[in-house]
């Protein structure tokens, strides 16, 4: 990893002055630290994708296959025929500039190719050249350009410099969605074997072991049991989750990050405590042990292949419905893709909370409920005894994750839960939350060490808003409902606002939950004293 600037230096280095040359003539920078490392060939081979021998984006010659132009042209054509979104978004942009400064990567880097409009023009210029009359006749006057290796390099740099957060699409008068553009761009690059390792390794892992982190079944069970020991130590309550159990009412699926890495693990503990306390008849699966789906960042086919496990496992185990944990892009896949790809889910029942009797009509077809909906419903019906004062040392704010916000609209459920489990809650300024929320800067598979400079820049707008409530209200805890956030926000906070920690909302639920038969709590789920004075 290359050293990155100090926060103050980075902030002062942001320069919105534009290059003298038009963007078409500005070569792409591939110095170390600017690009994601390419995938290892074995991952492509394991997934039967186009495999490419070892290479580096820093190489002058990327050794593209001899017919690479034809591959891109045909791939482009195929996608235009498959997606109306792509066709319309290629044609109707008026370059009004409303999106230009809505991208966190533009705000943090000042690089004009990070303006959503230009990111899309990278693809559009080739579209015009290959598929429009005006582009064929007028060439560069009509905004067309020839497909050269430099264009492919530019695509690689900038389609892996977009976190598919869709913030720009909120402001676009035509709803042009850069995530859609980036997804198509990445699919095209994948046709040439140009994938990044931080995405494709998790994908290959997930395909084989059921989860991105490659946790094998026995290890998955051991890790969960380890949490149960911790919970017993903290609360005195013994928890016995089941695995791969046929006949359970509910299958619970959460991102494997919650099983593997702090602070997600505390959120996992929160789920386990909640389910034990309410006596939920549920099971965990080691096969469908991943809620997230890095296939979304690879191609729609790969997304489908990974996602299929959820329904297949639900069917094999004979559960009635599926409950999903806190995760961002996981919920984009569930809400906007899952049943279309792998449905119909006619072997499941319309989800109904066994405790409150609430029928989740909004999940009537996919049969999958978000844990924030489920818990909010429990709290609303007074099914939980909560002691929010156990979270009193935290002044909490909430980071709306991109996908639950802009591809679903899960905004008030997590806030309702938070306000019931902690006494000090403060929202960030309105143009930085809800549908206008800023990305953590590391979404869509960019949470990789080698581009730390870019990640800190991309996360700046989020951190800046956190700093605002930190200074104003003393906020010291950033709650979120996304496993990528729980991995990406701690280094981001550590860099820009080091006094602020990161938590999932069910960690705070776990702290506040008064369980039957529990001992007096003196420590929280992190095994730190409940009250700061005691430190």
């Amino acid at each position: 990893m290359v050293d990155i600037l100090k926060p103050e230096e980075m902030f002062n280095s942001i320069d919105y002055a534009l290059p003298k040359k038009p963007w078409e003539d500005v070569p792409t920078d591939f110095s170390e630290g600017t690009f994601c490392y390419p995938t290892k060939k074995k991952n492509q081979e394991y997934l039967s994708l186009v495999a490419k021998d070892e290479w580096s984006p820093a190489d002058e010659d990327w050794k593209l296959p001899p017919n690479w132009q034809e591959i891109i042209h045909e791939g482009f054509k195929e996608r235009l025929e498959k997606y109306r979104s792509l066709k319309v978004f290629m044609d109707i942009c008026v370059r009004c500039g409303a999106c230009a400064d809505k991208c966190h990567f533009f705000i943090g880097t000042g690089d004009p190719k990070n303006m959503p409009v230009v990111r899309a023009e990278l693809l559009r210029s080739i579209y015009r050249n290959d598929f429009t009359i005006a582009g064929k006749i007028l060439g560069s006057i009509a905004g067309a350009r020839k497909l050269t290796p430099a264009v492919i390099k530019e695509w690689f740099a900038y389609f892996y410099q977009c976190s598919e957060c869709r913030r720009c699409s909120v402001y676009c008068p035509y709803g042009i969605d850069t995530a859609e553009i980036t997804m198509m761009g990445r699919e095209l690059l994948s046709l040439l074997g140009l994938n990044i390792n931080w995405i494709l390794e998790p994908v290959a892992n997930c395909f084989r072991t059921g989860n991105h982190l490659g946790i094998q079944p026995h290890a998955f069970k051991e890790m969960i049991e380890f949490f149960c020991d911790d919970i017993e130590e903290i609360t005195g309550v013994k928890i016995n989750p089941s695995f791969n159990r046929k006949g359970a009412e509910i299958l619970f699926v959460t991102p494997s990050g919650d099983v593997f890495a702090d602070p997600g693990t505390y959120t996992m503990m929160g789920y386990l405590m909640l389910f034990e306390h309410i006596g939920l008849d549920y099971t965990l699966s080691t096969y469908a042990s991943e809620g997230g789906n890095f296939g979304l960042f690879t191609s729609s086919d790969v997304m489908k292949r990974l996602n299929g496990k959820m329904y297949q496992e639900a069917k094999r185990l004979g559960v009635k419905w599926i409950l999903g944990g806190e995760c961002g892009h996981m919920w984009r896949v569930i809400n906007q893709y899952m049943e279309t790809m792998n449905g119909p889910a006619d072997f499941l029942e319309v989800p109904k909370s066994p405790l409150t009797g609430t029928v989740f009509k909004n999940a009537a077809s996919t049969k999958m409920v978000h844990i924030a909906e489920f818990t909010a419903d429990l709290i609303k019906h007074n099914k939980l005894k909560l002691d929010p004062s156990r979270n009193d040392k935290f002044k909490v704010t909430f980071h709306d994750s991109c996908n639950p916000s802009r591809a679903m609209g899960l905004l008030d459920e997590p806030r309702y839960v938070l306000k019931n489990v902690c006494n000090h809650f403060y929202d960030m300024p309105e143009n930085t939350i809800r549908e206008q929320t800023f990305c953590c800067g590391s979404g869509a598979g960019l949470n990789t060490e080698e581009i730390m400079d870019l990640r800190m820049r991309g996360g700046l707008p989020r951190a800046n808003a956190v700093k605002h409530v930190h200074d104003k209200y003393g906020v010291n805890m950033l709650a979120c409902i996304c496993a990528i956030d729980r991995a990406a926000l701690p280094p981001l906070m550590n860099y820009w606002v080091p006094e602020v920690g990161v938590t999932g909302i069910h960690e705070l639920v776990g702290n506040a939950l008064v369980m039957d038969g529990e001992i007096e709590r003196t420590i929280d789920l992190r095994q730190e004293p409940l009250k700061e004075e005691e430190e």
């Binding site: 919105y16 292949r305 549908e435």
Partner: protein
């Protein structure tokens, strides 16, 4: 001087000269008054239909609305039924706001570095200029229906009355003509003066604006200064509308033909340009779909067959470890 607007300005000036000389000095009034308008109209209709059909030919495989508010959830959580619609009605209202009031543009903000912080300011200018421009354009187009319909329909007359409410000048000033020019000039200035917007602007952005400015300028000049013979204009346009083509006796001024030629170019240019946003805005899948894909299954017509890694394959891979860990297996 930016080459993008230089090209566009040059193109508009040359086009204007072509009509001025062609219809004026050379006297090709039939070509510019009859043949080109029909040709432009045919290109427009065929091109527009073709483009929309081409869009419609591609399916919408996934339901991908950009949700801009609270989803439909439990009954006690208030849904934002417009910005996150779950019904067709909601979508219709959302589209209405989008198309008629430019709702998304209204959200626009600007980022600024203030000291050691980022700050965001709500900015209304782009929305305001866009509204001014588009509604002026619409009013001007509707007013021009007077030239193609006899008797003049009531709504055209009503609009004229409203448009002329200022009651200044003779002939009375129509507000929309002036605001169309102002709107187009403001949008052009924005592109030239704001560095970011300048950087992303292409010839294809300047050309239609300059063309429309040309149309407005020639139109205003004819109405208020050179006082074009409106009866003769109507004779020509009614001839076009009723297929009784003919050039009025004594002909029309060269300026009129410049105006008409600009309009023809614009109309014929629409299907091949970004001006197709007028049709595309209706077809954008992030706006025109309900966020109801958890409630109702959305079908992808090309849903591919893919290779899954089945549970059986998984168990084969890990069976011994699973048994050892006490995990249930299908085959012992």
């Amino acid at each position: 001087m930016n080459v993008n607007y230089l090209y566009s300005l040059l193109a508009v000036v040359v086009l204007g000269l072509v009509a001025y000389v062609g219809a004026g000095s050379v006297g090709l009034q039939g070509v510019f008054g009859i043949f080109i308008p029909y040709l432009a109209l045919v290109i427009f209709i065929a091109g527009f239909v073709n483009r929309v059909m081409d869009w419609a030919k591609s399916p919408v495989p996934f339901r991908i609305p950009t949700t801009c508010g609270q989803q439909q959830s439990m009954d006690w959580i208030k849904q934002n039924k417009i910005d996150n619609p779950s019904t067709t009605w909601g979508v219709l209202v959302r589209m209405f706001f989008e198309i008629v009031l430019f709702r998304s543009l209204f959200r626009n903000s600007r980022v600024e570095i203030v000291g050691s912080r980022l700050s965001y300011k709500w900015v209304v200018w782009l929305w305001l200029f866009a509204i001014l421009f588009h509604y002026s354009f619409l009013a001007v187009v509707v007013r021009h229906l007077r030239f193609f319909l006899e008797p003049v329909p009531f709504f055209v007359k009503a609009l004229e009355q409203m448009d002329g409410i200022l009651q200044v000048g003779l002939p009375g000033v129509f507000i929309s003509g002036v605001t169309l020019l102002a709107g187009a000039l403001l949008l052009l200035m924005r592109r030239i003066l704001i560095p970011k917007i300048n950087y992303i602007s292409k010839a294809a952005d300047y050309f239609p604006l300059l063309l429309i400015i040309g149309i407005a300028l020639t139109g205003l000049t004819m109405r208020y200064f050179t006082k074009v013979d409106v009866t003769k204009v109507k004779e020509l346009t009614m001839g076009l509308a009723t297929f009784h083509m003919g050039i009025p006796e004594g002909g029309l001024s060269a300026l009129f033909y410049v105006h008409l030629f600009f309009v023809c170019i614009l109309v014929a240019y629409i299907p091949f340009s970004k001006l197709m946003h007028m049709g595309g805005v209706f077809l954008s899948p992030t706006r025109n779909l309900a966020n109801n894909s958890r409630m109702k299954r959305h079908i992808n017509p090309w849903n591919p067959k893919v290779k899954f890694h089945t549970y059986d394959e998984y168990e084969d891979d890990f069976r011994e470890k699973m048994i050892e860990a006490g995990l249930p297996v299908e085959k012992e």
